[in-house]
Symmetry: C2
Subunit: 408 residues, 2 copies
């Protein structure tokens, strides 16, 4: 039975609104998925994340297998119970993190801009990759220096122990700087690993767990299309788009477009996840291109570092509260935002002071604000598709419309 | 008009239950006052602190005058508005922090044990004291190295700008290692400073702001009694007990007892605050000795460092969750505790993992737990006095009774 129901389509784009059914409930799409890389949305409690309107979070195979260990989480009742989140959980396969070690500092280049990507650079104090083989990958743990092994089967076994609602297959995340030949070879291995993941899951996967394949193929249209076709035909429950998406946003949109174009028609009912992307303009464009779910470290990571999301495309949607110009600013961060800082009317001066003083409360407040900001925009996009007004709402959001209320 | 109403007295001790009326509402006593040293209860939002049952928080003159500055907070509408707390606020005078610099590492010795005392050692990266004069104290700011001046009048002016509900007078906090002669001389200066504070406040204090005097006198009974009598007769709205309370808990109880004995009778209606004390057994004994309010960095500081308060006197009421014996412990921290971690049923294993991973969420959860733990015990004591059952309840609490529910 397909896990995805499409409720509405935008006539002017590939956008659709729908619902993904999982063992722990539905996700209304299009949706953003906050990172709970290490079994917590950093600084937030589960109920707070849910109250902001989020229905799913993303845990990470690589980090959780090293600490505290998948077996332990399994013995303690699985990741949901471990972290106190009873909604859907998607787990990344660890491929991105393992290959980030191998590809060294190009991890951030993968998404073609700094401090971006799956699970994020400040969570990554990875060890060192020791060998990439057909069978899997050998690497040194950043926790204790021990030698670890991750394979397609191993990644699926970890995700089975975690008990996530959606598992991602183990892939090689090809970086941006490699050539077409490497990308083609790597993508073919990713496809062989896809089949091994699915075979393992058919045999051993926990009942009800969905599996998404991962499309690779770098920036090459034919490789992307071929990879998409392979993943779509393999019998996955959904499709995730990963790897190098290009050198600039326009190229990224092209690459994503190749994949979603290939998924039109026969494979329309597969839900589509775009890995590691979360900038406001990318979310809007991704929705127009037919993406259903997104994850990104950006809102939470920026929050911990004192950068707040604001409705201003001119300032790249963000503002660093540590700047001295906020030191005496009595105005709140944003009107109409439901986050604690904005609804309490706390001043930018206070938030700036907390950030400069490195107070936990500041990290918390700005993290919550950023998640509220993204949640509001995703809700606007969902409602717009249902109401047949996506073009209008997308334009308003792009121009920096302050909140959902403005569209109604 | 007296600010304090005594509603019930314990027949077997000096304990009393009552209400302190302030410009921002009442405080039911006996009560613990969480620290908001730097305009936030670290990691907590105001509503969460209130939801745990706290009615008042304590801000700090010394830290807030250096950063972000009292004038700025004043311009932004005062400390309540700045930090989003609309209940009562008491502000410490800065005396303790300034003299901690002068007395160097003996700051922690003052309360005769480590990591204790007003505003706490891990908040203290103080600069250096330059001169202690009759007029006031000159010191170097830990923020920017600038030379700063704090005097009785200056401390009251800062507290006026902050707009606290209860201001504390500026005192010399005499350390434990000085002799009787120094203590006597210092206490006399503290009394002169008390009169200057009250004179300034009569002229310039904000309407409705209460002023507590501070009793010094070290561990010497006659000096303590004399200091108490001087403070009680000076026209303060309440009395705080500060300075060196001795080398061990028994001596501390004696010293506190000298002060509260002296306050019996004519000065009974003055509310009594014990500065920098918050261990469970000290709270119980303090209540029996007639203390109405307490403040201490302990619950919040321990929480940030992964130590949880538990109902077990054998383990000094605390447990370090980083210990490996909790790594696989599926049980929650404590039954019947209303904090998020306990009410979600999060395992000790998860909390231990968060602490070892230095996750913000862990600091938050354990801080909230510790404040919930102390709030529950204070409520038990308040209710016990009202019900004439203090001896029974105090004994149960001392023996590690798990929660209020056990006494009903």
């Amino acid at each position: 039975m397909p896990c995805f129901t499409i409720d509405a389509r935008d006539p002017g784009s590939r956008a659709r609104a729908g619902r993904i059914a999982t063992a722990h409930g539905e996700i209304s799409t299009p949706a953003f998925v906050p990172l709970a890389t290490k079994a917590t949305v950093k600084g937030m409690l589960p109920a707070e994340v849910a109250d902001l309107g989020y229905q799913m979070v993303l845990g990470n195979t690589f980090h959780l297998m090293l600490n505290p260990g998948a077996e332990l989480i399994g013995r303690l009742g699985g990741l949901h119970r471990f972290m106190g989140w009873d909604g859907p959980i998607i787990t990344d396969s660890g491929g991105f993190q393992v290959f980030s070690m191998g590809h060294g500092t190009v991890a951030e280049e993968i998404k073609a801009r700094p401090s971006r990507g799956r699970a994020g650079s400040d969570e990554q104090r990875e060890g060192r990759i020791l060998a990439i083989e057909e069978e899997g990958v050998r690497f040194r743990s950043y926790m204790d220096g021990s030698v670890q092994w991750l394979s397609p089967e191993g990644s699926m076994a970890v995700q089975a122990a975690l008990g996530s609602d959606i598992a991602l297959v183990f892939d090689e995340c090809t970086p941006f700087h490699v050539d077409r030949a490497y990308t083609a070879t790597s993508t073919e291995r990713t496809h062989r690993w896809l089949r091994r993941c699915l075979a393992w899951h058919r045999e051993h996967g926990p009942p009800g767990q969905l599996v998404y394949g991962i499309v690779q193929g770098g920036v090459y249209e034919d490789l992307r299309r071929e990879s998409t076709a392979v993943v779509a035909a393999a019998g996955c429950d959904g499709v995730a788009i990963g790897g190098s998406l290009g050198a600039c946003k326009e190229q990224m949109y092209e690459v994503v477009g190749h994949a979603t174009a290939e998924l039109a028609g026969a494979h329309e009912s597969l839900p589509r996840h775009l890995l590691g992307i979360g900038d406001v303009e990318d979310l809007i464009r991704g929705v127009e291109l037919g993406i259903d779910t997104f994850d990104c470290a950006m809102p939470t990571r920026l929050g911990r570092h004192g950068t707040a999301l604001i409705a201003d495309p001119e300032s790249r949607w963000r503002v660093s509260l540590a700047k001295s110009r906020f030191a005496e600013d009595a105005s709140p961060l944003m009107d109409g935002c439901p986050c604690p800082a904005c609804s309490l009317g706390l001043s930018r001066a206070y938030l700036s002071y907390l950030v400069r003083s490195k107070e936990l409360t500041g990290m918390r407040l700005i993290t919550a604000h950023n998640l509220a900001f993204i949640a509001q925009r995703m809700r606007s996009l969902r409602e717009a598709i249902a109401e047949g007004r996506l073009a209008e709402v997308a334009a308003a959001l792009r121009s920096g419309a302050p909140s959902t209320a403005c569209f109604r």
